[in-house]
Amino acid sequence: MSAAPPTSRALLSIVDLRVRIAGSQILQGVSFEAPATGVTVLLGRNGVGKSTTLKAILGLTPAGSQVTGEVLFDGVPLLREPTHQLVRRGLGYVPEDRGIFAGLTVAENLKLAERVPDPDYDTAYGLFPELKQRSRQRAGTLSGGQQQMLAIARVLLNPNRLLLVDEPTKGLAPRLVTEVADVVARVAETVPILLVEQNLGLVRRVGRDAVVLAAGTVAYRGPIGPLLDDEQLTRALLGVGSHSRVREKQPEAAPQAQGMSAAHGAGGTAQS
């Protein structure tokens, strides 16, 4: 089990995952795998169960919900393990609502997340120098973008084997979407990520494999390029038409993200 796995091997395998919350069946048998490298993007329309999938992996579904099926992380079954223990196996979680502690300072939020004796503040502050300047500020008084940075910085303090990141660009201004995209791309160079994201510009830029959920099951599984290039398929699975109505900023954010990535490459700030 502990021998170095070939890159093609699945790090996370989800087999027939079913979740029932408060009487309604959210997931009806979801199966997919996330490889040990790169970004796997979980796509689908609003309310299809993307966040629920991440929460079910982590054991964070609400009290009284029924979760069946199998989740294997490097061969170890996770579903019956308490959340705090499976997180210590190297799963970093950035939740949809950011999950930062508003009453704690920025420094306290980071300190709380330390799991190892030598937390990697260099990486966290290297990516988000602003957090260092604001370390004594209450996290609740940060802007949405800064809170998102804090939520990401927090998981980067620890060595992770897989990151579960839920809609990191949700509610952010286009400029911040670009910044988050840069960070996701950089983090993905070293850690595999299972990413829930609706911003197709970001998805195209960082994603390698796609899993599309529809009606509680997996509707598409495969490389991301062919999915996004097939306009008809994208529209059918993701409902991009209605989608852009809901999030007006997205059409302009997408091309911008691509443009900025080039600029970022040239700028190339310090990263070891």
Partner: protein
Amino acid sequence: MSTFILLLLTGLGLAGLYYLVASGLSLVFGLADVLNFAHGLFLSVGAYATWWAATNLPGAGSEGLGFVLAVVFGVVAGAVIASIVELVLIRPLYRRTIAQVLVTVGLSLAGVALLQAIWGADPRPFPRPAWASRVTMIGGAAVPNSSLLLAVSAAMVLAGLLAFLRFTRVGLVIRAGVEDRSMVTALGIDVRKAFTLVFAIGGAAAALAGILAGVQFSVVSPGQGTSLLIFGFIVVVIGGMGSVTGTAWAAAAVGLLQQFVNYYASGLGDICVVALLAVVLLVRPQGLAGVAGGAHA
């Protein structure tokens, strides 16, 4: 003027008593979502343990260091019983709120009945140092030392609790857990370990409240804890669940209001406290220190 000072200081003494009862209640509810109706039992445990120790424990007594030893014994007993209650009765029932309420209500009834069965229903004279039954002249007012003892003890517990929450790792976990418990576990922290500790702290504070109430009233009786618990709950609701400082302000408000009103309009103090509770619930349902909308996830 001397009347005002007397009412002020005895009111603060009463506030101190309420704070000691409410601080544990508030933290336990804020962190673990447990509405602990057995909290009053911890008061009685502390009081009876100290009462027992003063006559039976070697070295303990009702004066000087012997009394301190008896108090320590009572406080430790409260913390131990509270931890056992959490580990044995509450822990298997997390996420089952109604079952928890039933268990803690049942435990409080059974606990009082047990104390009655062993030591009888009649109040027993509580061992108190001669010093505690004297008065101190402050600004022309003869203030009972027992009131001062209560106020000072509560202030020390408040300061200690704030320092603990602010400067220790567990304190950080507790503050975060009061805000969003499941996110704390998602950071790889076993938040349930903190539950036991919070129960122990709450039990110790409640036991101290029971002991000092014994000193104040100079008797100990099985039902004492339960009647104080009602005011404890009122203070917790007014202060905002899970807030240590909010609870302190609420305790001060309730204690002073009750004392002043009872002096000027005999017997109306309790009603005024309930009226204050109603006003707070109408105007600021999250409590003085509570965050609007962020009840606790």
